[in-house]
């Protein structure tokens, strides 16, 4: 079961590079949130109520509902373009993300460590690198925020891959921190759009000497 979810998660990652529509990005993030819940739920050894609540909060509530809703609101409020083209043609991006996935797969299997769950680790690493690549190939800051959220999802998957569980308070602090960061980034995106009448990163160059 869990392997199916992981493959689906990898498919969403590839789909990010196939799509140029903002709504697709938001939907994909939401789907990734649901998939992460499934993976995390399957990964629980003993279902403790507190752990379950935290995973529910982090994945289904925050990643699958709150963040996509917030992005959607940002998109509508700022009347952003429906299509965000990347600077690299889709075909090349597809080759690159496939290469990232294969590279991570090969690298993961050179790791000889019993603690790491390699089936998670491969996709987690590819998601983090894919998120960074997504930021690089897009020129507008809304897509940069989407890239940041892809990295965050990869980090969450990596935390499952390494197996160990953090104390509850620490996990809660991490969750609140990430949520706050996403909301603040969103608020600032709003302000940038209002002030500069654009969300193109190339227009933000007044600071250069």
């Amino acid at each position: 079961m869990v392997i199916v979810l992981i493959i689906l998660f990898a498919a969403t990652l590839v789909y990010f590079f196939l799509s140029e529509r903002v709504y697709s990005f938001i939907w994909l993030l939401s789907i990734q949130g649901v998939l992460l819940f499934g993976i995390a739920f399957n990964n629980l050894i003993n279902i403790q109520p507190i752990e379950l609540i935290l995973i529910l909060l982090e994945t289904l509530i925050v990643k699958a509902i709150v963040v996509p809703w917030f992005l959607n609101r940002l998109h509508r409020k700022n009347q952003l373009k429906k299509i965000h083209e990347s600077t690299v043609p889709v075909f090349y991006s597809l080759i690159i993300i496939s290469a990232i996935l294969i590279g991570c797969f090969l690298m993961s299997y050179t790791i000889d460590n019993e603690i790491i769950q390699l089936r998670f680790f491969t996709v987690a690493l590819a998601t983090v690198i894919g998120g960074m690549y997504f930021i690089i190939i897009h020129k507008n800051i809304f897509s940069h925020l989407v890239g940041f959220l892809i990295i965050e999802n990869g980090t969450f998957l990596l935390s499952l891959a390494v197996g160990g569980e953090m104390p509850f308070l620490v996990s809660l602090a991490v969750l609140l921190d990430v949520l706050l960061a996403v909301l603040v980034i969103g608020v600032f995106l709003n302000k940038v759009s209002d002030t500069f009448d654009t969300i193109s990163a190339s227009k933000l160059n007044q600071l250069k000497d």
């Binding site: 980090t155 935390s159 160990g164 953090m166 000497d209």
Partner: protein, 474 residues
């Protein structure tokens, strides 16, 4: 003690935020700074003790928290001058003061954190505070800087978290994952070298945005270019020190293993690249704050190079960090006055500062002498010790390259300073618009005087704390 400190700080900032009155702001700020000083004294009296399961009063944390306490005192005064000159809106002032209190609290939390996840959470909190402080006046350029800082720092912090997760694979105790520094240090020798190396590189990369070094330095440089002077006095010093603490803790862990020489090489490469980039970028600067930001990059790079030498460089590195904090804080306070004179931060818009404001110019000149490590600056002694360590350990070519770069940096900083002090009065200068406060340079003379005094005669207390910190590495 530390949890009540956080609680009171939070209440004070909330009160200031909710009731934007100058009397509440002033009382709240003074109370907070007093409380911060009490925390420093208390932590010193309880050196080595734990405070809750996540915090510990160790020598490095006490040293850096004391520096923050010292800087917070003049920050109240200079923030008040900044409000009079540039804000004049109690609501924005209260917003600024409340965020400053949370920022200082989060920085202290980074210093004292014994658990690397708590440290990570506190560093993320500093990112959010700095973003709001840069943008509090709601102009266009600060917005651009705030956005870049927030985004790049957040990406950096996500990268650092990856490093922490990888470290977590090696930190299994019978009670589950234990990410306290003391536990990590105790099991470091048993860790898988590949994981430890990966974690170190990721954490160094992630926190480089805070430490103001390669690779994520760009966000910090832009933030410092537009941040108000009192904010700059904290983010160029205490916040950079927070980044240093975060790297230092991981270095402490890796230093217990056979990978210590590898980690030193990573620090050396990071330091050299950062120093080279700072030197190149300084040729292009057109604004004083940007010059100071690259100067901070230069000094932190030197500190990393000193750490990379190993034992002979540790003392110099820590003393250099302390002196840099005091000098850079003073320079930013003085720059607040320069800006009040010329109403611009651009180098081309300034000139004849010696003629217009002799005392301020003297303070600026003294600050520049101190920051460029010219005797009697304390930095002269630390840089001398760093070069001595480099030559004595066989890093001759690197030492010569660093010397050349420092000479170039010194030339650029002096040429820009000479323009400010002795060039013609700029055409746009309006004497009637100048707001002078004759007490303004006092804090700078005190801070620079302290650096000169400590360079020649470091008290036993300071030396003991530094040696205690070095002991953590061994």
């Amino acid at each position: 003690m530390i949890l009540p400190f956080f609680g009171i700080a939070l209440i004070l900032s909330l009160l200031i935020f909710l009731f934007p009155k100058r009397i509440i702001m002033a009382t709240g700020s003074v109370l907070f700074v007093s409380l911060h000083i009490v925390l420093t004294v208390y932590s010193f009296q309880n050196l080595g003790e734990w405070d809750t399961a996540f915090y510990r009063f160790d020598s490095l944390a006490i040293l850096l928290n004391a520096l923050l306490s010292i800087l917070l005192v003049p920050t109240i005064f200079h923030a008040n001058l900044y409000f009079q000159r540039h804000v004049k809106d109690p609501k924005k002032e209260s917003y600024f003061t409340a965020t400053m209190i949370i920022l200082a609290t989060a920085i202290s939390s980074v210093y004292f954190a014994e658990n690397i996840v708590i440290m990570w959470v506190s560093i993320e909190a500093t990112t959010l505070c700095v973003t709001f402080l840069i943008f509090h006046n709601r102009y266009e350029t600060p917005l651009e800087a705030a956005w870049k800082y927030l985004f790049l720092s957040s990406v950096g912090i996500a990268i650092a978290f990856l490093g922490i997760l990888i470290l977590a694979t090696q930190a299994n105790s019978p009670e589950g994952v234990n990410l306290s520094i003391s536990f990590l240090t105790s099991v470091a020798a048993k860790m898988d070298p590949f994981f430890l190396k990966t974690a170190f590189v990721l954490i160094l990369t992630g926190y480089s945005a805070k430490l103001n070094v390669f690779p994520l330095f760009a966000a910090t440089i832009d933030a410092k270019t537009v941040a108000p002077s009192p904010v700059n006095a904290i983010i160029s010093t205490a916040l950079v020190n927070a980044g240093f603490v975060a790297i230092f803790r991981i270095y402490t862990v890796i230093n217990q293993t056979s990978l210590n020489s590898w980690a030193q090489n990573v620090l050396l490469v990071t330091g050299l690249i950062s120093l080279s980039l700072a030197t190149i970028q300084l040729f292009r600067i057109k604004r004083y704050k940007r010059m100071f930001a690259f100067s901070s990059m230069e000094h932190i790079a030197l500190i990393l190079i000193a750490l990379s030498v190993g034992k002979p460089g540790y003392y110099a590195a820590l003393l250099h960090l302390i002196f840099h904090t005091l000098i850079k804080g003073g320079l930013f306070f003085q720059f607040g006055q320069v800006r009040a004179f010329f109403h611009s931060g651009w180098i081309k818009d300034t000139g004849a500062y010696f003629r217009l404001n002799g005392t301020g110019a003297l303070a600026f000149m003294l600050g520049i002498i101190c920051i460029t490590a010219i005797p009697p600056s304390g930095l002269f002694i630390t840089e001398f010790l760093i070069f001595k360590a480099l030559f004595s350990t066989g890093y001759t070519i690197i030492a010569i390259a660093v010397l050349i770069m420092l000479t170039i940096i010194m030339y650029i900083i002096f040429s820009k300073t000479m323009h400010l002090l002795f060039a013609k009065i700029p055409e746009i200068f309006k004497p009637e618009a100048v707001i002078v406060n004759r007490f303004e340079p006092i804090s700078q003379f005190v801070l620079f005087g302290l650096v000169i005094y400590l360079g020649f005669n470091p008290p036993a207390l300071l030396v003991d704390l530094i040696n205690e910190t070095i002991h953590l590495l061994n």
